[in-house]
């Protein structure tokens, strides 16, 4: 009996006792949990704060349609740069009278392309990418995909450019 009592008294001081291990584990879990809660409680507002303009531009880029006032007066054989949502786009009035609109963001590295009126091609100065001005197809250079095409509707007072869904 006496021996047993002594054992009970000395047992908890030994680091290898199961009670001690579980207590340590409980404390560890608690501390890690509290740290995680604090990191989350600080990290979430900081992330939303830094991400705020991203949210705003995501909303802006969700635009499906843009109306370009007086763009119907665009001279034959020339192009107009406009903003579709948040990124640049091209409206071209071709010599044959047709109208084409497409994204002006090169599919290679994201540079802004331009309409070469002489060569009647769309070119990118960054890495020499060339696109077909009528279809947006990538003709030569590094671009992997054609430029994104938009629908064009020419009215009496404006041009309406719509995203093809």
């Amino acid at each position: 009996m006496k021996d047993e009592q002594e054992m009970v008294l000395t047992d908890p001081s030994s680091p290898s006792s199961p009670e001690d291990v579980s207590r340590r584990k409980f404390l560890q879990t608690g501390v890690f949990g509290a740290c995680a809660v604090y990191i989350g409680a600080i990290g979430y507002p900081v992330f939303r704060y830094l991400n705020s303009p991203v949210e705003a531009s995501q909303l802006a880029s969700a635009v499906k349609e843009v109306t370009l006032d007086k763009a119907n007066e665009l001279a034959v054989g020339t192009a107009l740069m406009f903003k579709f949502g948040t990124s640049p786009a091209l409206l071209i009035h071709h010599a044959d009278g047709s109208w084409v609109a497409m994204s002006a963001v090169c599919t290679h590295m994201g540079c802004t392309v331009k309409f070469d009126e002489g060569a009647k091609k769309i070119t990118c100065a960054c890495h020499g990418g060339v696109f077909d001005a009528a279809t947006g197809e990538n003709i030569s250079g590094p671009p992997p995909r054609p430029l994104e095409r938009y629908d064009v509707k020419v009215n009496d007072a404006n041009v309406v450019v719509t995203k093809i869904s």
Partner: protein, 356 residues
């Protein structure tokens, strides 16, 4: 096992043995005033909050003509911008408050005595830089209150004879507070002051590590065997972190429940709003200017008040010169009375500032 090797390698390469040895040997006195040892750490922690939230605010803040508009966006448009700004403001107040508590507790524990004079001097310099942080940061939103606070504050260098007006003009970047002033104060607030503050803070903290916490005279009088201590690492550090956590919770709570407001945009032609007064940490000077101005009207009163304040500050800074010995002499009692007088004057004039 690999982690252990990496740890040993890092300790060796970075020469951390010295630091580990120092941290292992360092102890903190335990007595009934031990609580006051936490206030330096609280000041440091609220300063760190200032650094983090200040960097976050810089992401959207635009000094110059757009200053007000950018703070309006931070407060009302950017997600959680109000919270970051509010934490920055509350923590700034908390920082200066804890610095004052720290300084007066150091004073009352006579921790400025040899060999800790450098800690005292660097602390005074850090306090003055901290107040300049507060003053320059206050202008940055460019709302009505910040405009007038800076306008009034600039009258202080302006009152110094001969060299005063050109200095005030240079600080303002013109004859009036304008967009150049905001630009300058921004550079001061985020570049010049931190450049001065950081090395001084490093020195200040190094002094604490070097000389350890001073025990108050009542403890010094005890037999060494009767004095109690605790290890700095991990005991005191753990308690310090616990206090920091309380401070973090308190500041977050205050910032969330009482968000800092943005007043109307500064208008150079508008009259000053009724009841305008400075922040509490400049209230004592404000009240003294007012009080002495009543006794001695005109510029002479202003000059008298400012001379008095400057003299008080110089005397306060030079305390270790008067009271350098460990023993309690007549001189050290005089210093104690002077200090209690300073604390009472600061407290009563601050209180008066809010009433008169």
């Amino acid at each position: 096992m690999k982690l252990e090797t990496l740890k040993a390698d890092l300790v060796e390469r970075l020469g951390l043995e010295e630091a580990i040895k120092l941290a292992g040997k360092k102890t903190v006195p335990v007595h009934k005033h031990t609580f006051w040892y936490f206030w330096g750490g609280i000041s440091l922690f609220s300063f760190l909050i200032q650094v983090v939230t200040g960097i976050l605010l810089m992401v959207y803040y635009r000094p110059g003509p757009e200053a007000y508009e950018s703070v309006r966006q931070i407060t009302y448009q950017i997600q959680f911008g109000w919270l970051i700004r509010s934490v920055h403001n509350w923590s700034a107040n908390f920082f200066l408050f804890s610095v004052f508590v720290h300084m007066f507790s150091v004073f009352l524990m006579k921790a400025y005595r040899r060999p800790r004079e450098v800690g005292w001097y660097s602390g005074i310099a850090l306090l003055l830089l901290g107040l300049t942080f507060g003053f320059s940061g206050y202008l940055l939103p460019m709302d009505e209150l910040s405009f007038f606070a800076t306008k009034v504050g600039m009258e202080i260098p302006n009152a110094v004879p001969i060299i005063g007006p050109p200095i005030a003009n240079l600080l303002r970047g013109g004859l009036e507070v304008n967009e150049f002033t905001v630009q300058r104060f921004f550079a001061l607030h985020v570049v010049i002051l931190p450049l001065l503050y950081m090395p001084l803070l490093g020195l200040h903290l190094w002094m604490v590590q070097k000389h350890g916490n001073a025990a108050p005279p009542s403890e010094e009088a005890k037999e060494p065997s009767q004095r109690k201590t605790m290890p700095f690492f991990p005991n005191f550090v753990a308690q310090d972190l616990g206090v920091w956590l309380i401070v973090l919770n308190l500041i977050s709570l205050l910032a969330a429940l009482f968000p800092w407001q943005l007043g109307p945009q500064a208008d150079p032609l508008a009259a000053a709003p009724e009841g305008i007064h400075p922040e509490w940490y400049f209230m004592s000077q404000f009240a003294m200017l007012k009080l002495i101005g009543r006794m001695i009207p005109g510029l002479a009163g202003e000059a008298a008040a400012m001379t008095l304040f400057t003299l008080g500050l110089v005397l306060w800074a030079l305390i270790p010169v008067f009271d350098k010995d460990k023993t309690n002499t007549k001189r050290s009692r005089q210093v104690l009375y002077f200090g209690i007088f300073v604390i009472l004057v600061l407290l009563s004039t601050t209180f008066m500032g809010f009433v008169i």
